[in-house]
């Protein structure tokens, strides 16, 4: 009984006491979580874009992030100026989008969702093999400064302590917010954005009013390619550009569950919840489990959440009929 009470205390009370006793450290942890949450959210955003328009669950989003970052860095290493490398990389992502639409999606219209998922896993294998073949497997460092980002950090004195903000993290947060705003305007105000939403609502109805599915699909893949590039730059600036990013990108799947597959705000809020929750859990509860809980926290959180709200936070509730 005593050990049980002690365990309960260690699990339910002690972590909060830790949080209150060192508020500056808590703020630092929350900030770290916030930043990684933004990055999860960016990956999830790429998923959502494609899922909304084509009901394809794009497993290759993670490898697209790595691929885009690798193209950018390798071009720079070859002596191409940073701004030109950026433009060429965007062009490469556009080419990728076109060829995916042309060679894969167009032929798999109306197939079972598991088959579409498998096709994107096949695409993952192709991109991974090609990336390693062309760029080599070893990690590369991101060209942060050349792209005009500051690599310094600022301190903020609060609660008799210091919270450190990396400039690149602040830039990531700002860019993510801008990107979501731009996407929001794009979806609701532009002609193509409205066509996109029409396709998402009903493929056949969209076709019958003259919207070209193929064109829309190429555009969303291009858009999520650009999202992947931005994510790759941000993430690459925090750690190296390597294929290990791919596994981290899988966490965006848990974010998707929390937010709902079709919701842009859901991706952002879900990303922040996963990012912050994961860091807090790792720092304050992790030692109880022997550490490394970051690997599964997001998924288990998503699993428990789904038991109570199967459609995610912002997902649409479907009424099923026979």
């Amino acid at each position: 009984m005593e050990t049980f009470v002690a365990g309960l205390h260690a699990f339910l009370v002690a972590p909060f006491l830790d949080m209150v006793s060192l508020p500056d450290f808590l703020l630092q942890v929350i900030w770290e979580g916030f930043v990684s949450g933004i990055l999860y959210a960016l990956i999830a955003l790429g998923f959502v874009l494609i899922y909304k328009a084509s009901a394809v669950f794009n497993f290759a989003q993670g490898i697209m992030v790595v691929f885009a970052a690798l193209v950018l860095v390798s071009l720079f290493d070859l002596g191409v100026p940073a701004w030109l490398a950026l433009i060429i990389t965007i062009a490469v992502m556009g080419l990728l989008a076109l060829s995916v639409e042309r060679l894969v999606l167009r032929k798999l219209v109306n197939q079972h969702e598991a088959i579409l998922l498998m096709a994107t896993i096949g695409l993952t294998l192709v991109l991974k093999g090609a990336g390693q073949l062309v760029f080599g497997g070893e990690p590369k460092s991101m060209i942060t400064e050349e792209l005009g980002f500051s690599t310094g950090s600022s301190d903020w004195e609060v609660f008799d302590g210091i919270v450190i903000f990396q400039h690149i993290d602040i830039a990531a947060a700002v860019i993510a917010i801008i990107m979501v705003a731009v996407l929001g305007v794009f979806f609701s105000k532009t002609r193509i954005g409205r066509a996109l939403r029409a396709v998402a609502d009903d493929h056949q109805a969209a076709l019958s009013v003259g919207i070209s599915l193929n064109q829309i699909w190429a555009i969303v893949w291009f858009a999520s390619g650009i999202v992947a590039l931005v994510t790759g730059i941000m993430w690459g600036a925090r750690s190296d550009v390597s294929f290990a990013l791919e596994i981290i990108a899988l966490k965006a799947l848990a974010v998707l569950i929390l937010g709902g597959f079709t919701s842009v705000p859901g991706a952002i809020v879900g990303g922040l919840i996963v990012g912050i929750g994961e860091k807090l859990f790792e720092v304050y509860w992790g030692p109880m489990f022997g550490g490394g809980v970051e690997a599964w926290f997001a998924y288990v959180l998503a699993l428990i959440f789904l038991l109570f709200r199967p459609q995610g936070m912002f997902g649409e509730r479907h009424i099923e009929r026979v």
Partner: protein, 360 residues
């Protein structure tokens, strides 16, 4: 001409409900079994048996397990690798805790642990389906992987963190451990896989299997017709995980000899999912075809450079084969989304009417 059921009359209900109603199918299956049980052990080299046939059988069994869940019960799962791991670690713990227990019993018992874990992680399937469910099974994958690393008790606090297979005898022959010959290991695995496939085939065409298929085709309609979704979905998870667990135990005990967490990572889950999809969802024969295709293809690809005396680095070849396999998977999905099993069925239909294609 050769493959035709004309003249084969069924005069009893038993004959009508037989698993293979056509005589040619029975002969074909017997031939395959004969080749597998007699010809391969007698003629094939040790290399062929231990690096092609044994892994092929292990993966085929795991694919059967996943196919039960995905192809028959319609529940997507990405946690196959972890369920195999549960079977393997349970088998290791049982074998070291009860050294006198017959190893075959241990293997079959370890499947029950995987089944139990499978039911727990199958619980969300009662509320969610499709891709959402697939992602929650990722929770199983990563959580169990973490357990395999952090819980030292599972691998008896080895310094290496790996599980080493102890030697076990059956009828005076070493069947596991370093002294077991490939042929004995192959025959043990083959027997287990053959029996378990037979059981699966019969469960699938029985009452439980039919209720799984009803759930797959439309779960609400099935519920209205009196199928209990709770029981059906969870039994599908239990059955499937049992098969995956036994496959995992076989993989470590009869193929690898020792294993670490990497043997059960998410890439294995994908590998087995590929086998099921390439082979054909909802087909047992497809599991074997898919496993053969996905396992043998990279082996052949790796052998190509040395056959043509090309000087390609092993790592480069690895990347090239990754590209080729990825492209082939996409190609297959486009050409025949229902897998190799469907191609086989189409071929059989053609054979029935040959040489008069319009004579039905």
């Amino acid at each position: 001409m050769f493959y035709r059921e004309a003249g084969q009359f069924k005069t009893t209900y038993e004959a009508d409900q037989a698993m293979l109603p056509i005589a040619q199918d029975r002969v074909g299956l017997l031939l395959i079994l004969l080749i597998a049980f007699a010809a391969i052990p007698l003629l094939a080299s040790d290399f062929f048996i231990s690096s092609i046939m044994i892994p092929f059988l292990v993966f085929a069994l795991a694919a059967v397990g996943l196919n039960i869940l995905m192809g028959y019960a319609g529940q997507l799962s990405l946690g196959t690798g972890a369920f195999m791991g549960v079977g393997a670690y349970a088998c290791y713990k049982l074998a070291t805790l009860f050294p006198d227990l017959n190893i075959l019993i241990v293997v079959f018992l370890s499947g029950f642990f995987a089944a139990g874990i499978g039911v727990i992680f199958g619980l969300p399937s009662l509320r969610i389906k499709g891709l959402y469910l697939a992602i929650t099974t990722l929770a199983a994958q990563f959580f169990l992987e973490w357990c395999f690393i952090r819980i030292g008790w599972l691998y008896n606090y080895n310094d290496s963190g790996a599980i080493e297979v102890p030697q076990r005898m059956l009828f005076g022959l070493a069947i596991t451990g370093p002294h077991a010959t490939p042929i004995t290991r192959y025959l043990v695995i083959l027997t287990i896989v053959a029996i378990m496939t037979l059981v699966a085939a019969n469960v699938l065409r029985g009452r439980i299997g039919r209720s799984w298929m009803m759930i797959r085709d439309m779960d609400i309609a099935a519920e209205l017709m009196g199928i209990r979704p709770l029981f059906s979905k969870l039994s599908a998870f239990a059955f499937s995980s049992y098969y995956c667990g036994v496959a995992g135990a076989l993989m470590v005990f009869f193929w690898l000899g020792s294993a670490e967490v990497e043997s059960f990572d998410i890439n294995h889950s994908f590998l087995i999912m590929f086998m099921v999809i390439i082979g054909g969802m909802g087909s047992l024969a497809g599991c074997f075809m898919g496993a053969a295709f996905i396992w043998v293809l990279p082996v052949i690809l790796r052998a190509i450079p040395s056959a043509f005396e090309l000087n390609i680095l092993a790592a480069t070849m690895e990347h090239i084969s990754s590209i080729i396999i990825g492209a082939l998977i996409i190609f297959f999905l486009i050409v025949e989304p229902h897998g190799l099993a469907r191609l086989w069925r189409v071929g059989k239909e053609k054979l029935r009417t040959w040489p008069f294609p319009y004579a039905t």
